[in-house]
């Protein structure tokens, strides 16, 4: 009798487990399918743009290009490299602002974070509040524009670098990281006669490499992708255009020709005069290329950075 009971129970258990297992299996299959679909939806547009960028211009207008070009052509890349001076200038300015902007911004943010993370600093809370306020209260687009005009920052390269150098958000992320460094290291160095700046350069900075890398990555991507400042402050100065702003102009010209307004199919006549869809695709790919090339090496940094900044606010 007891044996039978036990058998019954274990049988139930097995049945239960089996049921769970099939349920699990079904869930896993659907979950995997869903995530694969998610990845396809994420990657397809990029691969499609790549295919279009290598396709012959007039042919691409017909549509129906998916993952491979129908009529191979290097023409689009030739055009953006050699025939569009705007893109070349934009590329130069963008590279320059990314390098200069990232380095200055990193230095400025790191130094401020260092000061704010010194526990004995006399004006710690005051200075901290001063910068936190800047995160929420902003003067708005027009007062800033007027100020920059008064300061002669418009129509210049420096408008890309100087005004956005210190970012309160990045400072908070870095400060949180620096607060995690034991005080004893600083105290030991001070006992041996190191001043505050020496501690910053020789002790804090080497320990902060991961967070520096994260912030540098954020700032670099920001500079690489920005176009609005080029449009707002330097739109009459083609020598200070940026890559993304040039891309935006292409976007505009494509919208104008394909008639985004009507959404109707393009007529053959306009198709023959200009077909910047392929040129725009080539420019998009060229702009994405550096980010995608560096992506695998950089990705471990931004995950840590985001978690420090977000969760431990």
């Amino acid at each position: 009798m007891i044996m039978a009971d036990i058998q019954q129970i274990s049988l139930d258990k097995i049945k239960h487990k089996k049921k769970m297992a099939t349920e699990d299996l079904i869930f896993m299959i659907f979950n995997t399918l869903f995530l694969v679909l998610f990845a396809v939806v994420t990657l397809y547009p990029v691969l499609n743009t790549l295919a279009i960028s290598f396709n012959e211009g007039n042919d691409a207008v017909r549509g129906g290009i998916y993952l491979l070009p129908r009529k191979w052509s290097w023409r689009n890349y030739e055009e953006i490299l050699f025939e569009r001076p705007g893109i070349r200038v934009g590329a130069k300015i963008t590279v320059l602002r990314t390098i200069v902007g990232t380095l200055t911004s990193l230095a400025a943010n790191a130094l401020l974070s260092y000061i704010l993370s010194r526990k004995k600093f006399l004006f710690k809370s005051g200075l901290s509040l001063f910068w936190v306020i800047t995160m929420y209260a902003s003067g708005g687009m027009i007062p800033v524009l007027i100020l920059f005009r008064y300061l002669h920052l418009t129509s210049s390269f420096w408008v890309y670098v100087i005004p956005g150098m210190v970012s309160a958000f990045n400072v908070m992320v870095m400060r949180t990281y620096m607060l995690g460094i034991p005080d004893s290291l600083e105290e030991a160095a001070q006992l041996e006669g190191a001043g505050y700046m020496r501690v910053f350069v020789s002790i804090i900075t080497p320990l902060c490499k991961p967070v520096y890398a994260t912030i540098a990555l954020f700032v670099a991507v920001y500079h690489w992708n920005s176009w609005f400042d080029a449009m707002l402050y330097n739109r009459f100065d083609p020598q200070y255009t940026t890559l993304q702003y040039e891309l935006m102009k292409l976007l505009d010209s494509v919208s104008a020709t394909t008639g985004a307004t009507s959404g109707a199919s393009m007529t053959a006549a306009t198709a023959n005069t200009i077909t910047p869809v392929t040129v725009r695709a080539a420019a998009s790919i060229a702009t994405m290329a550096p980010i995608i090339a560096l992506y695998p090496f950089l990705q471990r940094y931004f995950v840590t950075g985001l978690t420090i900044g977000g969760v431990k606010e």
Partner: protein, 322 residues
């Protein structure tokens, strides 16, 4: 007794950490103070001076006359603003798109994080995650190019719909007012879901595994564990992110709307920032004062959102920003 000891302990702690204002201490850290002064000057110039610039909203500001030379008009600009139908429309668009983005991006990111967390194969999980946040690093210009390609008459969306015989002729998505908000929300999801999920994934991994084990012993299935362990575990993170983003609801609407909008859908696409930009850039109707007034409205409303949501969070005993 207990209370008094803990209090005195606390007091002592404060004493250690609190900087002492003495001449000696000031001299010791003069370099920090000197650098701080530079930062304060910089901040005053680039962040606080534009706030002083708000006074031009009460003027009929002309750039070449300057603030001192321009005529004062009191609240006239604000009166115009709130009687301008376009401005009211623009407020609605900004607010609705911001709120829709916030709601959908939060829900989808959490769902994605939970589903990804269920994956057992490490390499598969890692690959999906790596792919998922790639679009975050692409500019809105590129994303809008991709979206308009996909939605064009020969694009993938119309292609698929026609192959499935849902429609017979290409549907002009970008010319339809009703489609503008959904397109914005979906584009935003495409770009940011993977990125937003990073924080939630990190928060899920920090949930105590014991909770899952005890839930399993109590007979909880996979979905029950998600519902009763994972979601409550994510609650503080969700709350703090919602709070942080609440103040940005009005800020969220610029790039995609500006790039994707067109004449046919402008009643649904234009946002406060685009409205301001028009007054700042349009050479014929340049009106810096009006644009500034609109900007003041936006900042004040954003600040109110932050303060109110923070207050509510405080009342409910949730996480808060300050």
């Amino acid at each position: 007794m207990e209370i008094s000891t803990s209090r005195s302990k606390k007091k002592k702690e404060i004493d250690i950490n609190k900087p002492q204002f003495t001449v000696k201490e000031f001299k010791r850290q003069w370099i920090l103070v000197a650098i701080s002064v530079v930062y304060v000057l910089y901040g005053l110039l680039f962040y606080y001076l534009p706030l002083v610039g708000w006074i031009i909203a009460f003027q009929d500001f002309k750039y070449n006359k300057g603030i001192s030379g321009s005529k004062w008009v009191g609240f006239k600009k604000f009166q115009f603003l709130f009687s301008d139908k376009t401005f009211l429309l623009v407020i609605r668009n900004t607010f609705c798109m911001g709120a829709l983005n916030l709601i959908f991006s939060t829900i989808v990111a959490i769902a994605f994080a939970i589903l990804l967390n269920e994956v057992r194969n490490k390499y598969f999980k890692k690959s999906i995650q790596t792919i998922s946040y790639l679009p975050h690093f692409l500019s809105w210009i590129i994303v809008v190019a991709i979206v308009s390609d996909a939605l064009s008459s020969t694009g993938i969306i119309n292609d698929l719909l026609m192959r499935l015989h849902i429609i017979d002729t290409p549907y002009p998505f970008r010319a339809k007012e009703a489609w503008f908000w959904p397109i914005v929300v979906l584009s935003n999801l495409w770009k940011e879901t993977g990125w937003n999920a990073i924080i939630y994934l990190a928060a899920i991994t920090s949930i105590d595994p014991c909770l899952y084990e005890s839930a399993a012993i109590d007979g909880a299935g996979r979905f029950q564990k998600m519902r009763y362990v994972t979601l409550p575990g994510l609650r503080p993170t969700i709350m703090i992110l919602l709070l942080m983003n609440m103040g940005n609801v009005l800020n969220a609407g610029f790039e995609i709307q500006y790039l994707l909008g067109n004449g046919l859908v402008q009643n649904f696409s234009r946002t406060i920032d685009i409205y301001i930009l028009d007054w700042a850039l349009d050479a014929r109707n340049l009106d810096y004062s009006l644009g500034t007034a609109a900007g003041i409205f936006k900042t004040v409303v954003s600040m109110t959102f932050i303060v109110v949501s923070n207050y509510i969070a405080k009342k409910r005993g949730d996480e808060r920003l300050f």
